[in-house]
Symmetry: C2
Subunit: 106 residues, 2 copies
Amino acid sequence: MKIAETPKAPYFAVIFTIVAGKIDEEDAGMSDQMAKLAHEQEGFLGMEAASGDLGIIVSYWNSLEAIQKWRQNSEHQVAQKAGKSGVFAAFKIRICKVERDYGFGM
Amino acid sequence: MKIAETPKAPYFAVIFTIVAGKIDEEDAGMSDQMAKLAHEQEGFLGMEAASGDLGIIVSYWNSLEAIQKWRQNSEHQVAQKAGKSGVFAAFKIRICKVERDYGFGM
């Protein structure tokens, strides 16, 4: 996975932090499903993910409207499944406006 | 590590994404140093981190001024060291305003 190639700010980010319950194939499948749906969604700019004690998935978007559509298409389904299967012990979703960015070596 | 206990939005986030070069003790030491400096900084709200192919460190702050002070105190030192030692092959820092959040199970 690489650092997401995002345009000049401002743009938007969704920070999804997860404390995993029982981690299993279904968990991996759900993350894949969310990623797949994001990539298909208009306005999607990129995604970065890492996991240890916490899982962190950051997706980038060109508008709040695009985020809203993605959520309507995917999150509801994913959250429902997660609630039923007990995959996530806890999660937090933060909707952000990226005001400035800079980097090195990309 | 737990999900950061942040106040009612709006507040601010710094998303720090890293592609590691050679990972060694110095790398771990620098992350510890950045975290330590953040915790000591006025306006710091919490931090979440995970690492795989990418490392992602998200810190939360009550103002842009607090972020600016943290950067002045720590990032410059850290980046200089990183540049010299080749620890980070690439990194991106995104300064964000968290406009809305919600979660489950925290």
